[in-house]
């Protein structure tokens, strides 16, 4: 098991390093001189621009700057400062990320709490009217852009009914609409995937065996079928969580929540490339960590993976990754 963790980490670290290098490089080739952007609007003489370039270290060769950036990133977890307003990106991210995380966590909780029982129930009652209604609704929800759902929710619950606030942050009730808007699409997909996973197990031999032993239907479903169906669902939860982290960015823009989303979008709008680079690298890091945890939980829960890994090690490591 420890070997598996180490192996995953060994793959993860270079990937993240390459992510950082690529983001830095891409942003370096973006048209527009950072020195001019930093100086703000208005006309600037060539000397001013040159001075600014000097002070921002833009005159150094690309490879030196990349080295410095990566060094700061790895050893101090420092993303540098914003070109436009000179603020520390690290502080901005640590102020804003909790909001994004709250939305993502809330969304995945809603998804699991609603999607899992619904998926199991519709699988058990496959092809009944309940199942068909659920399939229809999830199909529809799956096609709705989350930001549009957000706008409709604002329209109904904030403007027409006045039950919930339409924007900003504060208590728990400020997060209700964003979380619902962010989770509905993923919830629909998750329900269908749970149903599919459950159906596959219900049709398998182990359920037939359990039934033939004379177990009650309840024991068959919750004692035998569900635990087996849950294993692939763990991976799906991880994927969904990652997607919801990405989806939270657009939701934050709609509900004016000061999270990473508006930070990135404003950064792109004002050509603040250090902010964009930093923000995106940070999101990639969090995403990677979620994926890593998912894989580890999966490997821990599914004895087949563990066994396979041990067996493969003994054989001298046949890779099919």
């Amino acid at each position: 098991m420890i070997r598996y963790v180490v192996k995953r980490l060994v793959i993860l670290i270079p990937t993240l390093l390459v992510v950082a290098i690529i983001m830095f490089t891409l942003m370096d080739f973006v048209p527009g001189d950072p020195a001019v952007i930093a100086l703000g609007s208005g006309n600037h003489t060539q000397e001013e621009i040159e001075l600014k370039r000097e002070s921002m270290g833009l005159n150094k060769p690309y490879i030196t700057r990349l080295g410095e950036y990566l060094g700061n990133l790895i050893f101090h977890f420092d993303f540098g400062t914003s070109i436009v307003d000179g603020t520390q990106i690290k502080t901005a991210i640590s102020d804003r990320f909790p909001n994004t995380l709250k939305i993502a966590l809330g969304s995945i909780l809603v998804t699991i709490i609603v999607g899992l029982p619904l998926g199991v129930r519709t699988a058990v009652r496959a092809n009944t009217w309940e199942d068909k209604i659920s399939l229809f609704i999830t199909l529809l929800l799956d096609c709705m852009p989350s930001f549009w759902v957000g706008l409709l929710l604002v329209l109904l619950f904030a403007l027409k009914l006045g039950w919930l606030p339409s924007s900003g942050v504060g208590g728990l009730k400020y997060f209700v609409l964003p979380v619902i808007a962010n989770s509905l699409g993923g919830l629909a997909g998750f329900t269908r995937q749970t149903r599919a996973s459950m159906l596959e197990v219900i049709r398998s031999d182990l359920v037939t065996t359990a039934r033939s032993k004379g177990l009650s239907e309840r024991e068959v479903i919750y004692g035998h079928a569900l635990p087996n169906a849950l294993i692939p669902i763990i991976t799906i939860v991880g994927m969904r969580f990652g997607q919801m982290l990405g989806g939270a960015t657009i939701i934050e823009v709609i509900f004016s929540i000061p999270g990473l989303g508006p930070y990135l979008v404003n950064g792109i709008g004002s050509q603040d490339y250090t902010v964009v680079t930093g923000g995106i690298i940070f999101i990639a890091f969090s995403f990677a960590i979620i994926m890593l945890l998912t894989d580890l939980v999966y490997a821990f829960v599914d004895p087949r993976i563990k066994a396979q890994y041990v067996a493969r090690n003994r054989k001298g490591g046949r890779k099919d990754e």
Binding site: V19, G189, A196
Partner: protein
């Protein structure tokens, strides 16, 4: 290996387990050419067409798409108002006989704008997918065919692509390329590469070890026939399904990007961009928010329905 499964799970964003679902289907049991109850041979074009045309959802999807395409092309001739024409007196008015779906804040007819805007969504959906397919399938086929070092290199390269949530990756590309129609296509096209490449690679690896390939080899079937008769049809069908799904995904993503001001920018009537503008008037003119969204849903839903039907038609094993 669990990584591959991750991808399997991600692939079918919101869809039921089908080809390679959770990466498990492929390994358990082959998907042989079972004779269905109908006389048509599974996998033949006639069979696929028969299956799709008997699927109510798919027929509805196809009808809707054809309708949207036709209306979009003909919108300059059909609509009374041009998509950029201002009718200031009726600004912000709701649906009426003069403006069937109402007007936006400048008095532009929403119906003509929405119909005209369909071409952006369809173009981005199709062109972005084409880009992903060409690059992704080639990379996946190379990785799957050559294996070894080449495979590892390609897969590590794809890992980098998959280190981001899709929307964030698309935003990153948009930040680099700048906004605009073709930049949006490029951003979404590049974002989709990893999915197609992994799918193609998994297909080739799966098919290579299939019993029916072994069987064909053992009865001395010519290699050419194995490739054209067994490997290509089986490798291509999941890709075709994925194409339909990718078009709908790109349609959603393009509206998200345009909503954020990173894709197609106003005044062009892209649906997401229209929603971004409508957001400020949500209190007084809810129809401005509702109309473009409904069209996004119709468009995405149609492609999803077609994709689902294709999946059923191309994967006879799941027919039950």
């Amino acid at each position: 290996m669990s990584r591959v499964e991750n991808v399997g799970a991600e692939k079918e964003v919101g869809k039921e387990k089908k080809h390679g679902g959770h990466g498990k289907m492929g390994r358990h049991g082959g998907r042989g050419h079972k004779k269905s109850s109908e006389s048509l041979k599974p996998g033949s074009l006639a069979y696929i067409w028969h299956s799709i045309s008997h699927n109510k959802g798919a027929v509805m999807g196809m009808v809707l798409i054809v309708l949207i395409v036709l209306l979009s092309i003909l919108s300059p001739y059909l609509c009374r108002w041009g998509y950029a024409e201002l009718d200031v007196l009726n600004a912000k008015s709701g649906p009426s006989l003069t403006h069937l779906l109402g007007c936006d804040e400048l008095g532009r007819d929403l119906l003509s704008r929405v119909l005209y805007g369909a071409r952006y969504t369809l173009y981005i959906g199709l062109a972005g997918t084409a880009l992903s397919v060409v690059i992704g399938v080639t990379l996946g086929a190379i990785a799957g065919y050559f294996g070894g070092l080449v495979d590892s290199c390609v897969m590590r390269f794809l890992d980098v692509f998959q280190a981001f949530p899709q929307l964030i990756l698309a935003m990153a590309f948009c930040a680099v390329f700048g906004s605009g129609l073709n930049n949006c296509v490029a951003a979404l096209g590049l974002t989709g590469i990893a999915g197609f490449a992994r799918l193609m690679r998994a297909n080739i690896l799966r098919i290579r070890d299939m019993e029916y390939i072994e069987a064909s080899v053992s009865i001395n079937c010519p290699t050419r026939k194995i490739i054209t008769g067994h490997i290509i049809p089986n490798a291509v069908s999941p890709i075709i399904v994925e194409i339909a799904m990718s078009i709908s995904r790109n349609g959603l993503a393009s509206s998200s990007l345009s909503f954020l001001g990173l894709g197609v920018r106003p005044p062009y009537p892209e649906w997401g961009a229209m929603l971004a503008g409508a957001r400020n008037y949500i209190r007084d003119c809810p129809h401005m928010v509702i109309v473009p969204g409904v069209f996004i849903v119709i468009c995405v839903l149609s492609f999803n329905l077609i994709g689902d039907a294709l999946r059923d038609a191309l994967d006879p094993k799941l027919k039950k």
